[in-house]
Symmetry: D2
Subunit: 316 residues, 4 copies
């Protein structure tokens, strides 16, 4: 068995990484603590090496990941980072969307964006993988094939209306995640200015004015559903061709759309398409579990690629 | 006290009408039963007259409303219909969206569409009021001022992403409304083909290709939240001017958006706007309680107009 | 209009007091801030007097209430305290259940316990009212008539299994109240050692070994339901006689039991009884809204008594 | 691979059996349809034999199981029945609790009650296994060791307050399971007269007057939590000894109690104990997933015993 370190294992995403690794046939988790109060191995690059850790998952805030990732890399330990620390390509862009300086422009340039369906080869050889955000995972899987096929009227704009379960907001108790504030409620947030927007622009090669994004908080624990209307045709066929052979993308027949129950606790991204001939408009519905394909499951998928294992191991 | 009959009082909307009337200072409810099994006054036009009923609420399926409304009108009893029976203007349009023939084209032409903020004068003199659907209430209140102001790029299209609580689907138990199917779930339905679409086209004077509508089922009991991105500016100001003096429309300051808790159990429609200078795009968020402003509350508002009472009575 | 101060008005109970006072025909709320950061009147006994405040609601933690109550009383302002600060009668008992010293044994002895159905006369003349806890309100209303009637086999013990909505745990965000921890979950807490136990022992005149209490957290926002099996007969009749004329206690016919929807957003305590002839055992189900009859509504009821107003004003 | 038929595979319990069998290393499911409208193998004893089915799961109503079980047995196919059809031992008792005649008293006498922790040896040799009800599974696992140890004051009575997720009520849409009736609600049902009571009396060897049972409906999808206070000591130690080596019963340290999240989607029954020295009273909290250990998982466990496989296969 190989050994993988997990930092931030008490949060929702980190705990899900640990859970998935415990079922993995070739890799076992080692709990690593960045702060003093944990029960795991205290963080130090030496401790990683001494514990035989080949790859480390960082399920930590972006600023912590920026601090820890270089230390691990310097000692030859590969890094799969679940935060937003290395998803953008330049320090300028990071400053704009995260409101903070980024001292390691070299790593921003080096990091492989971990959306295997589109970046598989880069991930395989990477030392540092930036695991995608939950919203962009669903958005890019739905959009990029259509952008590449040239079927979108980009001048008219792409509208993305996304809803996430509460675990996407993290485990830290806040007024926004208090049960009484969430139950029987539904609310939009970060309207038009969500940090996940640039990941979609970069990956699907869109200009800023072409993509309008609204995030919304669902009164459920896990799951993301995104709808977006497009001017396009033959979308199902484009998806079918593009995702033939992809183990974790399922394309529904025309007219059928997925819901959260269809993907909860799995690494699947389900895509459904409904078209209207009169208006030549198409609605695409994408569903993922924000903690699996939107975080920990995709991180395992990337780990399998980095370590040269079959991509689906531990995820079926 | 005047007396108002309520048919369909065991459903969610009808029960809400009864509840609101019980608090009304000038009108009291009389339960009327269309079917044999109820405990109220059995339906007949004579019974309405004998019980001194001046106005009757029909919270019944469309086909039942088409049958009952003419009987009441013929005996001089005014009708406020909560179904879709009289919301469209022609039998052809009704056939297309409801999939059934409509034998009373004369009443379709006569009925006043009961959205007081835009049709107040027609409602005042009406014998027959078609109470709007829940989705179109929020959609038209958000859209019509902007269409009238000419600030929408209609060629680019208007996208409306609407989510309703489960009570909008009615009280009849179905597989779709089973608790286990709804909890921790979220799903889109009637994508692009919902029956409520033509109410928006008619009221906001839009062409079919200009309005794209997706309905979605929220795991909450009541409430509707609709988001729609527009190419526009000065939207808040347009709303402020248009809704000055309106008792049941509240416009938020730029950047603030409503959620369901803000409107639950009230007759308010709350509107919030968030703009993005770069893309010249605007997102409008509208929130109502689907059982109050989206059904029973608006029906009371219409009754007040029809009977010449202050419009807000029994609704504050 | 009289004026009532409300301290702690941003918490769930305090906000509910403000909401109820805004509908009250004779009393209007004044927001008072104990901490520096609020937008209301800053706390000082002088400020209460200058603002013409006749009575002040303390919806604050017990230790804050112990500090503020004497200041108000000293300046002739009556106090209705929603915390546990003055519900027990001696400093020794307070030390045992709340784990802290209580410097004002004189006020413990003076305070009237605000359960109007049993302590109405004492409340009328009181300067300081200790508003009951949510669990004991339901428990005492169900138990005390049966204890008084002598129909309980006290040696066999009374078992009380109580479940509360999340708002009972307060508005402070904690790991226990995070949506993701509560949704689709159910858990027992403070098993056999809940702070509310001594309120039941004192009010219903029970010995400690005779009453077994388990508190449980329901995945709902508001509402309390308590079940307790008893060896008794003719319980419905006892309730009917005891609560004849009580405006806020409703007794169901034998075999029917209340649920949370029946009492949500009201000041009612509903009681239902189911008996089993063979075992001579009786289950009583009591339901209240923990924020209304369990907190703010009962506080208004007590205020009405203290100020000499009709007991039900503002609560119907 | 062996083949197991599943009748009633579209219900919640039957679907869960199919899901678990699909992961089982030695047995694969065959969908069998009792009614005409399904897509699986139509039911007939011959069809079972021709399809090489060694064992059949009946996730059907009791009256259907009484009809189908004898047909399967006659053709040498073993039966694991998830309904209440064969859980009681005599036709008289069945008549009393299920309100219907039972024409196969011979099979009632023959059936093995499938609670492996107490009936393992009988199950191993059985042709017909009566899979326990969900409530009695948790109740008997918590009670029987204490009854056997003689630590319960049976005269004082055992009180069992049980709460189940909505899936325990089945997939058939009813007014009781409508989302709007369940969300933000909590209700007791079948108070003192639930059909599951005699399973506890029989298995834990109690008299009727000694056991008081209240069932309650939780607003969650799956999970059962039962609390019961007892007069006893050393309960944890009794559990530890009794369940040493049991793969699916976990005993918590004194003072810790389980919640639904701890057992959801697993075959575990978790037991926690909290004692009070003063009153010599003990509260036991038992938690199971009503669809796994309370239905389908336990059915697989019984199948493993019947077929001579390791008891935990397919369940870890």
């Amino acid at each position: 068995m190989m050994r993988a370190g997990v930092v931030g294992h008490s949060g929702y995403s980190g705990a899900e990484v640990v859970k998935l690794l415990r079922r993995h046939p070739r890799v076992e988790p080692v709990l690593v603590d960045h702060r003093a109060d944990g029960a795991g191995v205290p963080w130090s690059p030496q401790a990683l090496v001494e514990n035989g850790i080949a790859v480390v998952f960082l399920a930590t805030p972006a600023e912590v990941s920026i601090e820890l990732a270089p230390q691990a890399l310097q000692h030859g330990v590969k890094v799969i980072d679940l935060s937003g620390a290395f998803r953008l390509r330049t320090a300028e862009n990071y400053q704009r969307w995260y409101g903070a300086a980024h001292g390691r422009a070299d790593l921003l340039a080096e990091a492989a964006y971990g959306l295997p369906e589109f970046c598989r080869e880069r991930v395989k050889g990477a030392r540092l993988v930036a695991n995608p955000g939950c919203y962009p995972t669903a958005a890019n899987l739905a959009l990029k094939p259509l952008v590449e096929a040239g079927v979108i009227d980009r001048a008219a704009g792409i509208v993305c209306d996304a809803k996430s379960g509460v675990s996407g907001a993290g485990k830290q108790p806040t007024a926004k995640t208090h049960f009484s504030e969430v139950t029987e409620n539904f609310s939009a947030y970060s309207v038009l200015h969500h940090r996940h927007v640039p990941e979609v622009l970069l990956t699907s090669a869109l200009e800023e004015g072409e993509f309008s994004f609204t995030a919304q908080l669902l009164p459920v624990h896990r799951g993301i559903l995104e709808t977006r209307p497009l001017d396009a045709e033959a979308v199902v066929e484009i998806y079918r061709r593009r995702y033939a052979g992809e183990p974790f993308v399922r394309v529904y027949g025309e007219g059928a759309v997925p819901n959260l129950h269809a993907v909860a606790y799995t690494n699947y991204c389900d895509l459904g398409v409904k078209a209207d001939a009169a208006s030549r408009r198409v609605v695409v519905v994408a569903a993922i579990d924000n903690l699996v394909k939107g975080a920990a499951g995709q991180a395992i998928q990337n780990m399998n690629l980095v370590l040269g294992f079959p991509e689906t191991e531990g995820l079926e």
